[in-house]
Structure formats: C-alpha cells, structure tokens
C-alpha cells in the first residue's frame, strides 16, 4: 500500500481534514465562477454545472494549490487558477466522452454530458468550459497571469491534451501500433501535460522563481505519468498491457519516489504536494 521507495521522500504532513477543506474551497470557487442556471442560455449553464460540480477528486486543482504553497504563498492565492484548471480538465472529459470519440455513457458516476443534454449541447458545454477557463485566467490578478495563460494553453494544445487524445484514438483503432514508446507519449500528452501545467500555473500564481517552477514541473511530469499508469493498471490497458501489471506497479512507485525527491528543497512548504503524491502511490 505504501511506497517502498529508496529515494528520499517528504513525510505526509497534511491532515485529511485540511485536504477536505481545500476541496470545499475549490468547489465553492467553481460554484461562484460558473454562470447561474437562471441566466440564458440555461441549458448550457446547467450542463456546465452538472459536469463540473459532480463528484471529483479535484486532484489537479489541489496540485495547483500545493505548488502555490510550495513556493511560499498561501494556497488560496492560486484558487482561481485551480478552478480554471478543473474547468479545462472537465471540458476535456466532456469532449472525449462524445460518441465521435470514446463514446462513454457514464462519467463520475452519472450519465455523461451528451447522454444527459444531447450531443450538440455537450459540444457547446465543453467549448464553454474551455472558454470560461481562459476568461477566469484573464481576470485573475495574481503575478504572472500571462505566463499562466501560456503554460495552460500549451498544455491544452496539440502537443498536450488534444494531441494525446488523437494518439489515443489512433492506438485504440490500431492496437498493434501501440508500442511502449507511443503509450508513454500518450500518457505524457494526454495526462502529464495538464498535470504538469496545473502545478506550474499554481507555482506561478504564488510568484515562484523560474528554477522553482522548473523543479516542480519535474515533480509534475513524474506524477502525471504515474497517474496515467495507475489508470492503465486498473483498466488492464495501455502501458499495463505492454509492461505487465507488476512491472507497471513498480514503475508507478519508482516515479512517485522520484517525484517526492524533487520536493526536497521545498521542505515543509511542499507538504501538500508530498501528500498528494503519497496518496497516489496508495491507489495502484
């Protein structure tokens, strides 16, 4: 259950109570930033809320808050950035679930967006979430607002979220082409890019120095690939299929140990990031 890493690691220091409070802060922030269902066009506003405010671990926005804290600012400084990150993540789920893509009927324990609101509305609901994320980032008054926008837009682009989804669709339609190299590329683009950017954006919101942001991005890269590997282990797909489940599991632990190593120079201020990585290692 717990990492057997030999590399140094920060001891978990964040109470479940504090994690839960931060999750509530994120949920309240999202609630405030999403347009009210009373305003036109109601169906899109209702759909945005249905998708974003459904049960979620809030892993990516918590990473933003953790990175902000790691560079010495209060976690809440990055709250609007964290909310934008969750909107981006939800947009990508809504579009990936569409019939022309993964054709998923369920998401987060409820009917997927297009099953609930129809395909045309689901496309627009995804578009609206992506657009609102940049609106929020544009209004966000923290340091480095433009750098944050650059970081997140790149992670969403064709060498990030979108590229990963394309490669994933290709790998599904031609399973024989899915080598370990390709699958790692999918993990890096589809999952690790946004996770890394969520961390960099949080660190930038906290006014982090370039060297700090860089080190935290390396933490993010490891956590992101581990996250995708864990998903693959659970589904018996992708990397888990190519590497075998046991090897995939030890690769996860290696990556998380490496991630925790990156946090060393930040000391106690990286407690939240340490906790999130340690939690991840318990889920495989």
């Amino acid at each position: 259950m717990v990492s057997t890493a030999t590399t140094p690691r920060a001891k978990p220091q964040v109470s479940p109570h504090r994690l839960e409070r931060l999750r509530q802060d994120i949920n309240r922030g999202l609630e405030r930033l999403l347009p009210p269902t009373s305003a036109k066009p109601q169906v899109v506003h209702e759909g945005m809320r249905y998708c974003v405010l459904s049960e979620g671990k809030r892993f990516r926005p918590l990473l933003s808050l953790g990175a902000c804290e790691a560079v010495g600012a209060p976690a809440r400084t990055a709250l609007s950035v964290a909310c934008a990150v969750e909107m981006i993540h939800t947009y990508s789920l809504v579009h990936d679930d569409l019939p022309a893509m993964d054709n998923a009927d369920e998401r987060r324990g409820q009917p997927s967006c297009h099953r609930k609101y129809g395909e045309g509305n689901a496309i627009l609901i995804g578009d609206a979430l992506l657009t609102l994320a940049f609106d929020v980032l544009g209004r966000n008054g923290t340091a480095n607002a433009l750098a944050i926008i650059q970081t997140l837009s790149r992670a969403c682009g064709t060498t990030g979220l979108i590229g990963g989804q394309v490669l994933d669709l290709q790998a599904i339609s031609q399973p024989s082409s899915a080598t370990e190299r390709i699958l790692r590329e999918i993990a890096e683009w589809k999952t690790a890019a946004l996770i890394t950017a969520s961390i960099a954006a949080g660190a930038l919101a906290g006014g982090g120095a370039a060297a700090q942001v860089k080190r935290l991005e390396r933490y993010g890269q490891c956590v992101g690939v581990a996250f995708q590997l864990i998903d693959d282990v659970h589904d018996g797909e992708g990397m888990a299929q190519v590497l075998g489940r046991d090897q995939a599991r030890s690769e996860v632990q290696r990556l998380i140990a490496q991630a925790l190593g990156m946090l060393e120079p930040f000391g106690k201020r990286a407690a939240l990031l340490g906790e999130l990585a340690s939690w991840l290692s318990t889920t495989v």
Copy 2:
C-alpha cells in the same frame, strides 16, 4: 449599392490594393502561427490549416487592424491579435458545422471540416484552434494583453458565440418562437459579439484609451448586427423573414450609417474601418 444615409460618414479612403496587402499580412501571420503539418499529430495540424487557410474575407481580423490604426498605432501592431480572432472565428464555424449542430457539408467552397477529417477529428480541430488563439494572445506582447484576453473570451462565451449558437439551434427547431427580439439577440450574440470584440481587441492592442475603445465598440455593435442581417437577407431567413427583405435592407443601411457616424472623431485614422463598413453596405 451605396448607402443613402443621412448621418455623416467618413469617405472611403483605402485602396483595394492596400486591403489586399493587409489580407496577405493576415494570411502570412496565420501561416506562421499554425503548427506545421510535419509535426505530430499531423491530422489535426493539417485540419487546422485546411480550415483556417481556406478562402476567407478576413473581415474580423481586418476590423482588428483597422481599430488599431484608428487609435493611432500602425495596423500591424494588432497582427497577432487579428490572427487569434480569425482562429476563434474558424473554430466556431468548425463546431457549428458539425452533424450534431447545423450539419453543413460545405464551408468556404470546400467540404466542411468533419466531411474531410471525420467528426472526432473535427471536434478536436475546433478545440485546437480555440486553444491556439489563447496561446497566441498569451504570447502577444502588445499593451493590454490581459484586457484583450478578457474581451475575446467573454465574446466567445455563453453570452457571446456559444449562447448565440444555442439560441440559433432553438430557433431552428421551434421557428414559431423566433420573434424579432429573439432574432436580434441571436444576431448580437452569435455575430456582433465577436465582431465587436475583434474591434475592441485591436484598439486595445494599439494602446487605445477606454473612451476610444467604447466608441469603437459601438461602431462594432452596429456593423455586427448589420453583418448578420445581410446574411439573413441572402438566405431569406431569420430577421429578413420577420422584417421582410426590404425593411431588413434599409435597417442594414441605417446601422452602417450609424457605425460610420461613430468614426467621426477618429478622422482619417479610421479610414480602414470606414472602408470596411462601406464595403459591407454594398453587399446587401
């Protein structure tokens, strides 16, 4: 062919040669900003170029350049903003054309994006264009970069492009609900919002003062609603159906005269904006 407006108007002063040169600048800017087809994921990069670099009037990006010039900066100062505007416009066309929306087979004289690349790719190609637009705006070093992002993201949102498309879909499925008020709202959200924001963004890129931006936005509001009315006159739909073709035509001329009146305080510097509005009045 020419407006019979009684309100004052700037005399057209821009040669077709200069308009064509500006269009080429925009096309070259887009060519440079779009990812190369040689890079992965090729299908998405190819599709982005197919949709953006196809024949287009470049009306919106020309408005950005014109607004930049009107506030006293060289038109080219707003070139990357203008390119971002064209990417946003193209994204909205790609998504609106999808089978779950307007189900259009052709666009700009060629097969629509999903007819050429399939539905899943077309969704991703649209997503990628919207994302790239914000990436370009985030990297754009002109004055007021954050204000530009706010202006454009709002125009793309649920009380802009997206809201207009929702109302339009509802009006199509329930033609009896399409009153003049609703149709004007559709015109304002679906068309005028992005046109107005293109102008405001260009003026902001040129370092325009708040009062100048406001006046140019009023020009944009008139031009935007006129633009949608002209579309309706040509298709015999929407407002043209409710008002009747002749009344719709005189409403266009009234709006354009009003738009030209807004340009007065800018004098000769508004020549390009004056020319674009005058051109519009010849197309109805």
